[in-house]
């Protein structure tokens, strides 16, 4: 539900996978098939000579070193920066406000309702239930629209549809309190606490 760039992830992982797969298969072929070794000498030798030539031609004016090394350094730094940016994109999209609108009343100004309101209200409403091991509420921004994600961890054996109906009626009550329908996702999941905790016996 967060704004992880899924297509980008797939594309980049796919590119890396194909590259690694190609290198791996090439190494295996080099180790096993002699003919591939000859071809590799020809082809890679040509590539290496091309680069050596390039280094020759790009030397600093009165010095031995080539400035191509600096260019390669720069390119690597760019790649590193892109990788860091890519990692930073994962799992973002949390927001703090579930409602942010201009107040239509006489007083000028905006009204903002924090996601903490929804979280505290739902937590308090669900706190006494013996069949739940945990509740987390988070607000995300989906295409500019804030949405709530309610993650409920029931104990083992709790019927999910009944739990969903209960939480959903709580959400409707919350709608009435806030005065606005936000998109809501209820995720009924299992975690360590529901898995290893005692099973729900009486309801």
């Amino acid at each position: 539900m967060n704004n992880t760039p899924r297509v980008l992830n797939r594309v980049l992982i796919g590119i890396l996978g194909i590259m690694l797969l190609g290198i791996g298969v090439l190494l295996v072929l080099l180790a096993t098939v002699p003919a591939v070794g000859f071809w590799w000498h020809e082809w890679a030798g040509g590539v290496l000579n091309f680069w050596l030539n390039l280094f020759e031609r790009t030397q600093f004016p009165r010095r031995q070193e080539s400035w191509l090394w600096l260019v390669i350094c720069f390119a690597l730094v760019v790649v590193l920066g892109l990788m860091v940016a890519w990692v930073a994109q994962q799992g973002k999209g949390r927001t703090s406000l579930i409602v942010a609108e201009e107040d239509p009343g006489g007083v000028p100004g905006n009204v903002g309702i924090s996601g903490g309101v929804a979280e505290q209200a739902l937590r308090a409403a669900l706190a006494d239930r013996p069949d739940l091991a945990g509740v987390t509420v988070a607000a995300y921004e989906i295409r500019g629209v804030p949405a709530l994600k309610i993650r409920v961890e029931p104990r083992q054996g709790v019927a999910p549809h009944k739990l969903a109906a209960d939480v959903s009626s709580l959400v409707e009550a919350l709608d009435a309190v806030i005065g606005k329908r936000t998109p809501v996702l209820i995720h009924i999941g299992s975690g360590a606490r529901s898995r290893f905790g005692r099973a729900e016996r009486v309801r």
């Binding site: 992830n9 390669i72 350094c73 209200a121 549809h161 959903s168 898995r195 309801r203």
Partner: protein, 219 residues
């Protein structure tokens, strides 16, 4: 009981002023909700992405170190880039073929892992439930636990004698009866089916039951 509790926290209350937002279209419409559900039932590949990025960062970081050292004319740390390139060109020589083959196999496996992660649909073990207000996603594990409880009650056996496996299109109920106590598979199957229909997960799986031939003694 739960009814009382749930209204204690945030009951509807006397607040009723202003335009009723009831049944107003969702902020982003049904399409937005569909998108959320699609994203919730499919893996985002965030973990694999971070692994891939870390791999690239390590390799590029080392390459950057050696290149920078070379660019400012210092002696290399481990291997000079040009020497490394020459060694790579001369590859089948200068390295035992077994080591080369194993290295290649490991690299190819890693590549296959990343490639399959990118290409496969990456469905999560989750089902959707119908609801009038919110989108509901349930882990298959929770469904399995609920069905197991139902099957256990219908079969009148202990918790350890029932195992339920839920996959996308199939629910498999494994029951080990108590020795000497007859068990009617149809009744258990019916109970599980009814619970599943009441739940209404989508996609709806079909139910199979397997009753073990050997019973449990003294349960």
């Amino acid at each position: 009981m739960s009814q009382d509790i749930q209204n204690a926290g945030i009951g509807p209350g006397p607040y009723d002023a202003g335009p009723a937002p009831e049944r107003a279209p969702l902020g982003s419409g049904a399409a937005g909700m569909g998108r959320i559900l699609k994203r919730e039932t499919h893996s985002s590949r965030a973990v694999v992405s971070v692994i891939a990025a870390a791999l690239v960062v390590v390799v590029c970081g080392y390459a950057l170190l050696e290149t920078a050292v070379r660019a400012i004319g210092q002696p290399p740390w481990i291997v000079d880039p040009l020497t490394a390139a020459e060694r790579v060109v001369a590859l089948p020589a200068g390295m035992p073929p077994l080591l080369l083959g194993v290295t290649g196999a490991v690299v190819a496996m890693a590549g296959l892992f990343f490639f399959l992660n990118a290409v496969l649909p990456g469905r999560r073990a989750r089902h959707l439930l119908p609801d009038r207000r919110a989108a509901v996603v349930v882990d298959d594990e929770v469904i399995a636990a609920a069905l197991a409880r139902r099957a256990r009650l219908a079969a009148n056996v202990t918790q350890q004698q029932v195992m339920v496996v839920v996959s996308r299109n199939r629910v498999v109920v494994n029951v080990r009866p108590t020795s000497g106590v007859p068990l009617r598979p149809d009744a258990v199957l019916d109970a599980v089916r009814r619970e599943l229909e009441e739940m209404g997960p989508s996609p709806m799986p079909d139910v199979r039951i397997y009753v073990a031939t050997a019973g449990v003694v003294g349960a």
